[in-house]
Structures are given as C-alpha cells and as structure tokens.
Symmetry: C2
Subunit: 429 residues, 2 copies
C-alpha cells in the first residue's frame, strides 16, 4: 500500500468524457490498494478563455483579481472530478490551494511555494477518501489572498504535495507517454527512456524538451521526489526521473547497478533568437557593459560567443542567444545605449535552431563532442555557436537544418530505436 500523487493536465480533463476516464484511472489506483492524492489543472482551454474575458474588461487586469479569476478554473475541474469519482462509489473530496495548505509568497501570477501544510489532506486520507487538489494555485498568509504559481504550476503543485506528504511516487500524466531520447515529431526513431536522472532531465527541459517543467523537476530534485512521467491514454510505464537516492534504491538497481548511458537524449529548440553586437571596441569591460544592459531589459541570455578581435580595427563582434520573445526589449535597450558602448550595429537573427546533447555519462566519457561535430559535418550542417555544461553540449545551427541535425546526431550516438515512435498532440498546463 503506497501513497501515490497523480497530476492530470488540462488536456486530460478537457471535457466530461475525459474527466470520467481520468476518474476511472484514479479509482483503479485506489482499488489497487493505494492512497491517492490528485493535482488537477483547469479543463482544456478554460484558462485561455478566462484570460480573454479579463482582457475584454481591463487592458491590464489587477494581478490580485486575475489570480482570483484564474483560480476558479481548477475549482471547476476538481469538483467535477471529485463528483465523477464519488458516483463510482468512492469517497472523494476536493480542496482549493488554500484548503490544501499550499502557502506561497504574495507574488500574484508567479507565486513561489514557501510552505505546504496538508493537514486537511491527511485527515481526508485517514478517513479513506481520495483527495483532489486544485493545481496551479496557492494562498498567501499575510495578505490572505489567493495566488497562482504561473507556468507549470500544476506540475509543481503535484511535486510539492508529494514532498509534503512523503509520497512514494509523483505520477505526472499528459498526452505524451514519457521522456524520449528526442522529440518524436522531429526524430521518428526516438525511443522512450525508462529512466532519466533529474540532472539530465533539467538539462533536457532547459533546452527544449516540453514534457516536464524545469520548476517541478528542480523541486523534485531538491526534495527527493520520484517523478513518473506517463500517458493518460495508456497504462504502459512511462519514464522515471531519478535522484541519486532513487538510483541507488532497490526498485532501480535490481539486476545490478543502473548503468549510465553516455548520452541520454537530444533536445531541440526553435524558440531562440540570436543577436550580434557588431564592432564592439576590444577593450576590457565592454562585454560586462553589454550584458548589464541586456539583463536590465529583463531578457534572458542563454549562449554567448565572442569572436577573436580583428587586430587592424581592434574591434570584435559579440553574439548571444535568447528566447525569441525577449529579443525586442534587448534590441531596444542596446540601441538606446549604442553611443556609450560604442558598438557599430546590431544584427537580429530569429532563424536559428539549437541542438543539445545531454548525458551524465559525459563526465566520465571522452570524445562525446567529437561524435557530435563529426556527425554534423558529414551532413554538411554548419555550426554557428557552441556552448557546453558538465553534462551537455549545445550547438546553434540554421533553423532549417535543426531537424536533420537532430536525426543524424541521434543516430550517431546510437540512440535510434528499431521502430518509429507513436506521436501525440501537445500537452496541457
């Protein structure tokens, strides 16, 4: 008898039929003898519809009221889910973020969880009830106002509940059946990973893998929560995201200790843009000046390269990548300070693609980057930028080349499966 936390995204509870299917799945878990706590997102497009309504009545909605509005979405889905379970003959109780003891700071729209006090949830579990909790929302003790957690909020709710209740596993359900060695829509021969280390998962998520939100994975890593990413539409095992202690646990060491693959997966990201600051005076402190300006603009810099200076001009070019959405503010900020910095011009390129190879095995294996560069050169794909971390190598290529690059690299590392992977549609909040 285990305590299992399950999270269902918006696409898993999009309509009455889906809610009943999810209810059945929860009941099956209960029938198997487990205690079940469920974190649920708002139905399908509810959140977008509410946001649309808000924009119709107020150009810039008051943050406190926007959270009050959006938090109603999960109230609807969780109450319906609890009813559905109830009508199957099982006791189920739904709880709002505040009833569940999801205490956050007062940052409306992007609140951080500061404490979880699931007293009412424990009581309900002790009374044999299935517990349904509104994902994405919390409560601030000082203002006594409702807050929302922002993107990936429901995943974070689930992981935070799993940590606070010391659950055996946190199952994150979506319409994708696990973590793949690459995006199956890009690399048909991508294979589902049975397990991946949380540090690898963080690098994959940070570099384009969409299945899990970084924030939830970080929370799980910090609190030792075992995540199991799986599909709402099949009962097949998905992918386990393991921390050190899990990697050593019996569940995952039967048949000898878990052997680390050199490369866990290949992540692709078309959401980045490149900005090149041309003709920067090659004197100390200029780079610092530039990135202070960019940081002040709120833009999130990812990769940076500085060309060797052309001796004649004593000037150099500095290129960096950032999310496409941040490019405009960064360009405006830089242009505004062009005189002070003394650069010649700015080049904006949003036709780039980023490919990342991630694997904890890189620490102990050499030649990993060589394989990458060789595969790309054989395919005639030009590398524009390179950056590396302890367990990741990322390269920037033309956006049009990204898919082919991913396929050849995936093959080069021996990640190809025998058959093509099954592809599903996009996932919910």
């Amino acid at each position: 008898m285990a305590l299992i936390v399950q999270k269902y995204g918006g696409s898993s509870v999009a309509d009455a039929a889906s809610i009943k299917r999810v209810a059945k799945r929860i009941v099956d878990t209960r029938r198997a003898g487990h205690d079940v706590v469920v974190a649920v997102s708002a139905m399908g497009d509810t959140t977008d519809e509410l946001l649309d309504l808000a924009s119709q009545v107020a150009p810039i909605p008051a943050p406190r009221e926007l959270d009050m509005l959006l938090s109603s979405g999960e109230r609807i889905s969780m109450a319906l889910l609890a009813m559905a379970i109830h009508s199957m003959g099982f006791e189920a109780r739904s709880f709002t973020g505040s009833q569940a003891g999801m205490i956050t700071d007062a940052t409306h729209g992007a609140a951080r969880i500061v404490d979880v006090t699931p007293i009412r949830l424990r009581d309900a579990l002790d009374e044999g009830a299935i517990v349904i909790v509104a994902g994405f929302q919390g409560f601030n003790r000082d203002t006594r106002d409702i807050t929302t957690l922002g993107r990936g909020g429901s995943d974070t709710t689930a992981v935070a509940l799993a940590a606070a209740l010391d659950a055996d596993v946190c199952e994150i359900y979506s319409d994708v059946d696990g973590i793949y060695t690459a995006d199956p829509r890009v690399v048909p021969k991508a294979q589902k990973l049975t397990r991946v280390s949380s540090e690898e998962m963080l690098e994959l998520a940070a570099n384009g893998a969409k299945v899990l939100y970084i924030r939830a994975v970080e929370y799980a890593r910090r609190h030792g929560v075992l995540i199991h990413a799986r599909s709402t539409f099949s009962s097949a095992e998905g992918t386990y995201v393991l921390n050190e202690q899990h990697e050593r646990s019996e569940q995952f060491t039967e048949g000898g200790p878990m052997e680390e693959p050199v490369v866990a997966g290949v992540a692709t990201d078309l959401g980045q843009a490149k900005i090149t600051v041309v003709g920067v005076p090659d004197v100390p402190g200029k780079a610092a000046e530039i990135f202070k300006i960019v940081a002040k603009s709120g833009a999130n810099v990812d990769m940076i390269v500085q060309n060797v200076s052309a001796a004649a001009t004593a000037r150099t070019d500095i290129s960096f990548t950032l999310p496409k959405g941040d490019a405009a503010v960064a360009l405006r900020a830089l242009a505004g300070d062009q005189a002070e910095v003394g650069f010649e011009s700015l080049i904006h390129d949003d036709q780039i693609g980023k490919l990342s190879v991630v694997g904890a095995g890189m620490r102990t294996h050499s030649g990993v980057s060589a394989t990458l560069f060789e595969a790309l050169s054989i395919a005639g794909i030009n590398i524009e930028m390179i950056s590396t971390s302890e367990i990741r190598i990322s390269v920037v290529v033309r956006g049009d080349d990204l898919s082919e690059a991913a396929r050849v690299v995936h093959t080069a590392y021996g990640l190809d499966g025998d058959s093509d992977a099954v592809v599903h549609a996009g996932s919910g909040r």
Copy 2:
C-alpha cells in the same frame, strides 16, 4: 456619505460589455461620495452550464462538490467586475463568501446564514476600496467547506451584508425597474410602485411576483434593511421596500405621513395545481389525516377548501392547491394511503390560475373583497377557491381566465396607469 450595498444579478453581468456597464454604475456611486459594497451573481447562464457539466459526470452529484463547483461561478464574475472597476482608476477588491465572513450551516445547496463577520470588508472599506462579494455562497465553520444558499441566494447575500454592515440602503438591481401593481406582461396598465411595505411585498412575492425573493425580503424585514429594487438599465428610482421604522422615517414622510393605498397590487400565479380528494368520510380528523400525508410527501400546500358534506352520503370533497412541481409526490403519497383514509378518488387539475389582491389597507377598509368578486362576476369569470389573509385575498380561476381576471380587477381597484408600462425580459439569479 452613505454606505450602499448593491446586488447585480446574472443577466446584469452576462458578458464583458455588461460587466463594464455595471462597473461604471458602481464607480458613479463611489464618485457621488458613497462607500459601496457589491454582491454579484454568476455571469448569465454560467450556473446552468456548470449544472449541466455536473450531470454529465455524475447522475447525482455529491452535494459538497456541487457547491464547490457552483461557487466558482461568482468567483469569475466578481473578479472580472473588480478588474473592470480597477481599470477605471478605482481601488476594488473581490471576496469569496468565506473571505467575506458569510457563515452558514452545513446544508449544501440550501445553506442558511447563521452569522456574518465582514471584518475584511470593513478593512477594505476603511482603506477606501470598493468591495465586491460573491453572492449565493457561504462557508461552514465546522466542516470548513464552501456552501451555497440556493434560490435567491445573491439577493439574500446582499441583504445580509447590508444588515451586518448597517448599510443605509440595499439596492437590488435587475432588468425590471421596480415592483409593479401587477405583472406588466399580464396587465399593460400596471404602474410602478414608488414604495411598498415589506409585509405587502412578502404577500406579493409569495403569490407570484418575481422581482424579489421572499427569503431576502424576510431577512430585510427581520433586520430592518431598506431595500431599493431598481433597474440596471436606467438611473430612474425603482421601488423602496419599507419596514415600519422606514415608513416613519423622514426620507419617506416629507409631505405628511405616508398614506396607505387600500390595495398595493395584484399578483398572478400560473405555477399552482389543484388536487381534489373526492368522497372523504365526513368524520372528525380526516382532514388532519390527509394533510399529514401530504406534508410527509414534502409537498407545500397553499389553499384549502372543504365542500359542505352531502348529507345523504356523509361524504365530502377536500381540495387544495400546491406548486405544480409538488403535485406528483402528493398524489403518489395519497394514493398509497387511499385504503386507510377511505376516500373514493383523486382529481388532479393543473390548469388553474391564482389571483391575489394585496394591500395593508385592507385591515382598515371594508368592501375590498366585494369589489374583487363583483369585478370577476361582471367579466363572467368563475371563482373556484377563495382564501384570505389579513392583507390579502386570493382566488383560484381557470388558467385561461387569469390574465383577463388580473386586468379587470386591476381596473376595479383603480390601479390602472394612464400609459402602458415598459416590459423587460426575465431576471437573473
């Protein structure tokens, strides 16, 4: 500077445009220098849509979860309304039933208000904010669960807030601009009343007038709250519902004490059915027996008449009226005990109409009933049943005759206006 509580029904906040219009109205009241507390219903058909969703996932939804579900409707409307006001440059804060201190018993779906502790509302008012409260919902202290008040809930919320905050007036907005001497859809010459006593209002509401809910009027009468029923779509004064202390107050006695009309209005009701128990043994206790059975069935008996016994058979007929919706259960209950009671048969008639003449002046004026009976006889309308209270005379006629009956009686009591009244559509929750 007064404290004004306003209630807006679902039809007043049906869409973004309506919400903005209501927001402007609230802001205007604030600009006039008043403190404003608003109770708002769910948008348009939200409640019906949520009920429909519930029925799709569960044949008989769990009451606790149904309240959790339905209470989300007001969260949406109140947050949007607060945003709209905020974007007009005024501080506005929305509060759920529990945040507003609307404490109820634990009867889900039909909770009774047991206490109102509007501490957070007072704080918000002291800080100069406009307060928006979710109508229709409350909170039970023991179970710590959300409850809903049932039909007319939002009106009751508004009146309860007005009482707890000692407001100067409770304005109930709907798409009808006040209380009329009759339903303008039935009697075109009906006139809007500038004021009506709460006891008259109770009789009118109890006998078919739809503008205000009995429950809210009773609460206002018990707590001395002054109700002003008016239209969302015009700034014209509506109808004041007065208690004794108001009738004596300066606001309503300038130009001499308020003179009571003999008849305040004519109410019509097509929602009743008649059941006749035929051939009841004319022995003591039979009536008691019959109405004990009916009461046990949960049916709500209104009028009762017993014919004089036919000496030959020593049997009599007993007829009574009740809401059409209650007829089925009452008939089933009576049929089940036919042997014990010893009556001969049951007649069910749902083609009746009830006309009521209401006026506090009846206490002091005679001949009121004569006028009624004469008017109907001249029109050739047959009276099937008669019942009276201290300030009301009700008669049952054929449903097809009800409209004409209302018109001739309205004329007979000199209630006709010079011009026809403007008619609006039905009102919200």
